[in-house]
Amino acid sequence: MAVNIRKLAYFLTGLFVVLIIYLFYLNLWQGPVLANHPYNKRAAAQEAMVQRGTISDCHGVVLAKTITQRGLKKRIYPQGEDFAPLIGFISLRYGHTGLESVYNQELLGISTVSKLKNFINRLTHRPLAGNSLILTLDASLQHLARQLLNNQRGAIVALDPRTGAILALASAPGYDPNTIDKAVNLGTGKKITEFDLLKKDPTAPFLNRATQGVYPPGSAFKIITLAGALTYAPEAVQGTYNCTGSTMVEGFRLTDHSVHGEVYFQQALAVSCNAYFARLGLALGQNKFYQNALSFGFNQNPGEGDKLWQDIYSPGKVTLPGQMSKPELASSAIGQGQITVSPLQMALATAGIANAGVIMKPYLLSEVRSPNGGTLGKNAPKRWKTATTPLVAGLVNGAMQAVVEYGTGQAAAVPGLKVAGKTGSAQNPQGKTHAWFVGFAPAESPRVVVAVVIEQKGTGGVVAAPIAREMLRAALSNR
């Protein structure tokens, strides 16, 4: 009988082993799926126990906070639409978006740093509270940007080129993050919420156009081409060029709006001569053109190891040199063709010119504070890329001042202030051109860079330049 008992024991042991293997599978393999399943109430319950941290701007203006209303915790956004979709929203039903999602762990105080502290809080039965975030944004500037956008599709970025601190990052159309869960009655009897409506909205209000918009840069890109030519093909920039109103590249015709006649590089930028810059692109060649775009941050994310930019930033895209034909090279040099950018990418490239050739790493989060107000971490300015030399940056800066003084960007001029800039009117398959303006001021020692894009609203000089002017004026008056 001992043999039989042993066999029975082996059989039961086998069952237990199966159980253990299955538990491993369930826990490690299925675990992440189950943890994020909408029927799993754990994440929400965990959050409900914690007083979520406040988000405020650089002057202490509250952008998002959690209040308790009739025993229920509620997240409110006092600035309404201004910061959506950048800050995003939290919803039991639709999850977290924007900064609320990126910095969820900090806001709940569940990042590894706070684990020990939370354990001590449990031991002492203190209520759990998350950390507060202080952003580099300026709520008044952001509000102005939203007003200037005036619900037209587009985006505005303002940043400090000396540090990389982002001052405004506005996208339109926006939405009100306070009412995302609200039921909407369309009279059709179907139960839908604000979120459902916004999701179906063809103008894509959830898209953060400032960081994730994909636009052709148009003529605004010419500042990058110019910097490249001054560095790698200086002979092409010397002397003048006679613009006849168009140029042929291997049977492909690039046209200008008018015949510019004899131009040298400052004038060419000021009048935005396509033929001249197509020629500079060809003089650079595919490899140097590509290399120059890379040094201005194209095809790269400034967020190596920074979850924020990994999550919300789409870098500018430039075609690999091996896949670039001559006509494509000429079109790319004037910001058309396959080349695409986000407004933030354009602002960073412009910052490279403004900051004597150095692009600082962009940042939004200036400080994380513990619930009792102590500083847990501060962001210090860091270099990101060396875009060009101070000499070349100075030359491009001068040419950009010419744009505002007597060229296409005169609408951006601010009396008593030297403004440098570049317009763009990017052709796109959807219809009217996207209006671009990138610039900075004061030109002799730039403190603010702006990038403006308004979708399908005409030329940059008419539509975008006045907006940039107001942004520069406001940003410099209260700084």
Partner: protein, 425 residues
């Protein structure tokens, strides 16, 4: 050498106590509430009671297995820690039942040491068992979907918990007498030697009883455990895989029949195959269990830090999910390994004893614990359809705990190593 007698047992009890005090200490420090002092006092009383039991055995020269009590202690401690964490009222009642359980073990190991007389009452077991099964059908109350409870006024008793033990006792005595006939077979049937109806009759009877349980008490888990234990014991006694296979087929046929004609069985299977469409209704419990099982990762959320109360009936059938959520995959596997060690000790007892009845009794009781553990853990993890049964020694419940401690007591008396001098007596 009296001072080293049962030293191993007390060393292990000491380790178990350290485990208990760590858990109780964590709860004491992290959970708000007024009864925490009472909890620590209870913990102290239980630890002392277990040491007292070990000391008493030493004084009375009881030389049973030294691993079983420490294992039961760890299970009981786990039970108290988690029940206190889930609901303090359950922990208090479980504490009282635990003390009663220890009293049962003390009683069995003091007065039933010469257990051989147990082999003589097989028909009494059968009659008591049938009464125990039939009573709830007529006078039972329904709890947790199964109608297997008797309302005795001041408390409820689940008779099937005790009938399981009667079944093992009956089979041990019946098979001791008949195992040779059953093993050999008396007739030839298409090349297989099979015994006559007087021998396989009980097998069919058992099948019928299990099925009745299934139908009238809606107790799928109970039926499964009854029948599996029965098959395990028949296999141990006869070594004939024929009984096991034909028995298992009979059970499957029975289940298929029930699937066809009984709604509640059909639901169990449906939810097992795909619980998601019924996530708010019939599938709710097992899905919440899956969420809990996977919430803790490798090391768990920490004691008191998870949300096991999202699972309905977490303190009884689903306590394993709560344990895994809070002490992690490693903790859950640790518990399974402890059950494995319990089985190992139990089968060791069964193999070592020279007496056939004792050997069958020990292997039956051990198999019972093993099968029950597997079926409930497989149920809450959705490896098998969910069946409402308890996790031995850990789940909340007086009937279950009492029955488990009777099993512990019986295993302990069977495990005695008779010194030559008392062998004659």
């Amino acid at each position: 050498m009296w001072f080293i007698a049962r030293l191993k047992e007390r060393t292990l009890l000491l380790i178990a106590s350290a485990y208990f005090l760590t858990g109780a200490g964590t709860i004491y420090l992290t959970r708000p509430g007024d009864n925490k002092g009472l909890f620590l006092t209870g913990a102290g009383v239980l630890i002392l009671a277990l040491f007292a039991l070990s000391y008493m055995w030493q004084r009375l020269d009881f030389n049973g297995n030294q691993y079983l009590l420490p294992l039961a202690a760890i299970f009981s401690y786990t039970s108290l820690i988690f029940l206190y964490r889930l609901d303090q009222a359950y922990a208090l009642r479980q504490f009282i039942w635990l003390l009663a359980g220890l009293a049962i073990v003390a009683f069995i190991t003091c007065f039933l040491r010469n257990y051989n007389f147990l082999a003589d009452y097989k028909y009494i077991y059968a009659v008591l068992g049938i009464i125990g099964l039939v009573l709830p059908i007529f006078w039972g109350t329904e709890q947790g979907g199964a109608k297997s409870w008797l309302d005795l006024g001041f408390f409820h008793i689940q008779t099937s918990e005790f009938v399981k033990i009667l079944l093992v006792l009956f089979l041990a005595s019946f098979l001791t007498e008949n195992r040779l006939i059953l093993a050999k077979g008396t007739r030839n049937f298409y090349g297989f030697t099979i015994p006559g109806p007087q021998e396989w009759g009980p097998l069919v009877l058992m099948w019928a009883i299990s099925l009745l349980l299934l139908i009238f008490q809606k107790d799928l888990g109970g039926a499964l455990i009854f029948f599996s234990t029965f098959l395990a014991m028949v296999y141990v006694a006869t070594a004939r895989i024929f009984y096991t296979i034909s028995g298992a087929s009979l059970f499957l046929i029975g289940t298929a029949f029930c699937y066809r004609y009984f709604e509640h069985i059909r639901w169990r299977i449906k939810v097992w195959l795909n619980p998601w469409p019924y996530a708010d209704t019939a599938g709710y419990q097992v899905l919440q269990s899956l969420f809990a099982l996977s919430a803790g990762g490798l090391t768990g959320t920490g004691l008191g830090n998870g949300f096991p109360n999202f699972i309905p009936a977490v303190h009884t059938d689903f306590i394993f999910a709560a344990i895994t959520e809070e002490i992690g995959l490693l903790g859950g596997i640790g518990i399974i390994i402890l059950y494995f060690l319990f089985l190992y000790s139990g089968f060791q007892v069964a193999v070592k004893t020279k007496d056939e009845f004792a050997s069958l009794l020990a292997s039956g009781l051990t198999a019972l614990i093993g099968i029950q553990t597997f079926v409930i853990i497989a149920g809450v993890t959705k490896l098998l359809p969910l069946t409402g049964i308890t996790l031995p020694f850990i789940s909340y419940g007086g009937s279950s705990l009492g029955a488990n401690f009777i099993i512990l007591g019986l295993l302990l008396v069977v495990s005695q190593e008779y010194p030559e001098r008392s062998r004659s007596g």
